[in-house]
């Protein structure tokens, strides 16, 4: 904001003191000042403009700008301009940049307009005291008695409604993933079902017996199928165990048909390690018994399954 002032009254008073102006000297009416802004913080710069209209044969300057020590003003820079006006007169202008200190309201700094002409004996001086003032504000609130932490930046709130479609999409994806995983698990469980696998393999061995499989080889397969079944069904390394170790494991797990299973494995051991040669009928009978035992073990497991703790076993 800018402020312009008419200082005619003050100039008239000064004219009386000076004893009257020379005919060519500027009168107070020719001098205008402006300053902006009209209020500022301490230390900020004030743009102070002094304009003097005068006869173009006169030389004019501004001197004794009341700044510096003892005043709240400090000049940081000045520039002067001179131009001829259309009415034949001239205009002298000085732009001063002034740093302002000291809180409160201060009258703009006074100055002296010095004018003169070569034909006149000496320069004439016109002291100007502007009536306008500038207000200097403190950088901080004077009521503050303690240091306050700097408040964190408050970011603009995220528009929550934008999340809704993302959440819905995620939920749909999650649900779809869950259903697919369940489906895959069920399918895998079906394919890997040890009972199903064991029964299928036992039937296959029986079929192969009819096609000429040696009964001793049938017993070896029977042993492997049973041990694989036990390994998958009861989760222990039956394939790496001897029959005695398997018997101990089954006893520890209290498997209902353990005795019959071990008898079958013992029979197979005799065939495998004692070079016993069973008949084809004997082998068929053992395969049928094995099928029944596998099914019985599976049924017992299903009956036990409602309790959550047993889930890991089967």
């Amino acid at each position: 904001m800018s402020a312009r002032c008419n200082i005619r009254a003050v100039a008239a008073l000064l004219l009386v003191i000076a004893g009257g102006p020379a005919s060519a000297a500027p009168v107070p009416g020719d001098v205008t000042v402006s300053a902006e802004p009209d209020s500022l913080f301490a230390g900020e710069r004030l743009h102070y403009v002094i304009t003097v209209r005068h006869d173009r044969r006169d030389s004019v300057s501004v001197a004794s700008l009341k700044t510096g020590q003892g005043t709240p003003f400090e000049i940081t820079g000045t520039k002067s301009f001179l131009k001829t006006l259309p009415d034949g007169r001239a205009e002298f202008r000085m732009d001063a940049e002034i740093a302002v200190f000291g809180l409160g309201q201060h009258q703009l700094p006074g100055f002296t307009v010095v004018s003169g002409r070569a034909s006149v004996a000496g320069p004439e001086r016109l002291a100007i005291t502007p009536a306008e003032s500038v207000t200097v504000l403190s950088m901080s609130d004077s009521t503050v008695t303690e240091l306050r932490p700097i408040a964190p930046l408050v970011s603009a709130p995220f528009p929550a409604w934008l999340l809704a479609p993302v959440l819905v999409a995620l939920a749909v994806l999650g649900l779809a993933g869950f259903l697919v995983a369940r489906l895959v698990t069920a399918l895998r469980r079906h394919l890997d079902d040890p009972v199903r696998a064991a029964r299928q393999k036992l039937r296959a061995i029986r079929r192969q017996l009819s096609k000429g499989l040696v009964p001793a080889d049938g017993y070896e397969s029977l042993s492997n199928i049973l041990r694989e079944f036990l390994q998958k069904r009861y989760r222990f390394g039956a394939m790496e165990m001897v029959t005695q170790e398997i018997a101990e494991e089954l006893a520890a797990r209290n498997v209902n048909v353990r005795q019959e299973l071990i008898e079958l494995l013992d029979q197979a051991d005799l065939v495998k390690f004692a070079d016993r040669r069973p008949s084809i009928e004997e082998c068929r009978r053992s395969l049928r018994v094995a099928e029944v035992l596998v099914a019985t073990a599976a049924e017992a497991e299903i009956a036990e399954e409602p309790t959550e703790g047993d889930e890991g076993r089967g």
Binding site: E240, A274, R276
Partner: protein, 332 residues
């Protein structure tokens, strides 16, 4: 069918000939409390014509077991305490000059006995150890220019103290390999120790051990052990176990390849087979099963598998490697 009949016949013979085992066990149990597993392993070594390395802290009746065993089997017994200043001649014997006849005569050393207890074998330097191990391998010693066969059966049971290593000469791996089994003699149970204490505190003289087995019975049993049937599947299982100590990665045990400096030699396979057959004999069976192999696999392999520097840093024992191998190698 012929093979089946042969095995049945062999089975009956085994049952008849193995009667001495019960007699020996019974008479040994009057002197030795507990340690039945150690006694069984000693019997296996005797039947399989092997030698044993016993390891255990002092005071676990190692010497008593061996001495009593030899007495019960009616076998001559010598205990040799190995010391750092021992010479090979102190073990195998030397030529002594007879000034009357002006001739050198051989003087046989303590190695001439059926059962030798080489106590603290690692206290003697390598040349003495070598002299004994050579006798173990060759079953004969040469004194002067004459070679003398050692007694039959000839069995060496060497002891090592696992705690004390100062002033000892560790047996090189090549020599360790000569021992069929390494047996760790454990502390007795509370009840066993109680009984040991009560018996040892008796003032009366200990019961004199009487021989209940004749060496001929051992020889006959050995010939039956030789005839015990070992199926190809079991033989393959044995080789699988031994190979797994050398190439664990082939059996899904890649983590062990950096832990084992080197694995067991083919001699381990041979001893594992022999010991499995002897174990089957103790079970009165005419055929060996993987169960027999598993029963003696720790004893046969533990001194043949050397842990690497990394394994030693992690305080891993050969027994842990063997357990991992057993858990990964499929039983036939």
């Amino acid at each position: 069918m012929k093979q089946e009949t042969e095995l049945e016949t062999l089975g009956r013979q085994i049952v008849e000939e193995s009667a001495f085992i019960d007699r020996a066990r019974q008479v040994l149990s009057t002197t030795i409390i507990g340690q039945t597993a150690v006694i069984d392993k000693v019997m296996i070594a005797l039947l399989a014509n092997g030698h044993l390395l016993l390891e255990g802290v002092p005071g676990l009746a190692k010497t008593l077991i061996v001495r009593t065993f030899a007495s019960a089997m009616n076998l001559s017994f010598h205990r040799i305490q190995f010391t750092p200043d021992m010479l090979p001649a102190d073990l195998i014997g030397t030529m002594i000059y007879n000034p009357k006849t002006m001739e050198f005569h051989p003087r046989r050393g303590p190695v001439f006995a059926n059962v030798i207890l080489a106590d603290e074998i690692n206290r003697s330097p390598a040349k003495v150890q070598s002299a004994l191990l050579e006798a173990m391998q060759e079953k004969q010693v040469t004194i002067g220019d004459v070679t003398y066969p050692l007694g039959e059966p000839f069995m060496v049971l060497a002891t090592q103290n696992p705690v004390e290593h100062e002033g000892t000469y560790m047996l090189p791996e090549a020599q360790l390999d000569r021992f069929m089994m390494k047996i760790i003699v454990e502390y007795p149970t509370f009840e066993e120790e109680l009984e040991v204490m009560q018996r040892a505190s008796a003032v009366q003289a200990p019961i004199e051990m009487r021989a209940v087995v004749q060496p001929e019975e051992v020889f006959r049993s050995r010939s039956l052990v030789d005839r015990i049937y070992v199926d190809q599947r079991v033989q393959r299982y044995i080789v699988d176990l031994v190979t797994a100590t050398r190439s664990p990665e082939r059996y899904g045990l890649g983590n062990l390849s950096t832990m084992i400096e080197y694995g067991a030699s083919p001699r381990a396979s041979i001893f594992l087979l022999l010991a499995s057959k002897a174990h089957a004999f103790l079970q009165r069976r005419a055929y060996a099963t993987p169960e027999d192999v598993k029963s003696i696999v720790y004893e046969v392999l533990r001194h043949r598998v050397r842990p690497s520097y990394e394994a030693e840093a992690e305080n891993m024992k050969p027994e842990e490697f063997i357990r991992s191998i057993l858990e990964h190698v499929q039983v036939p």
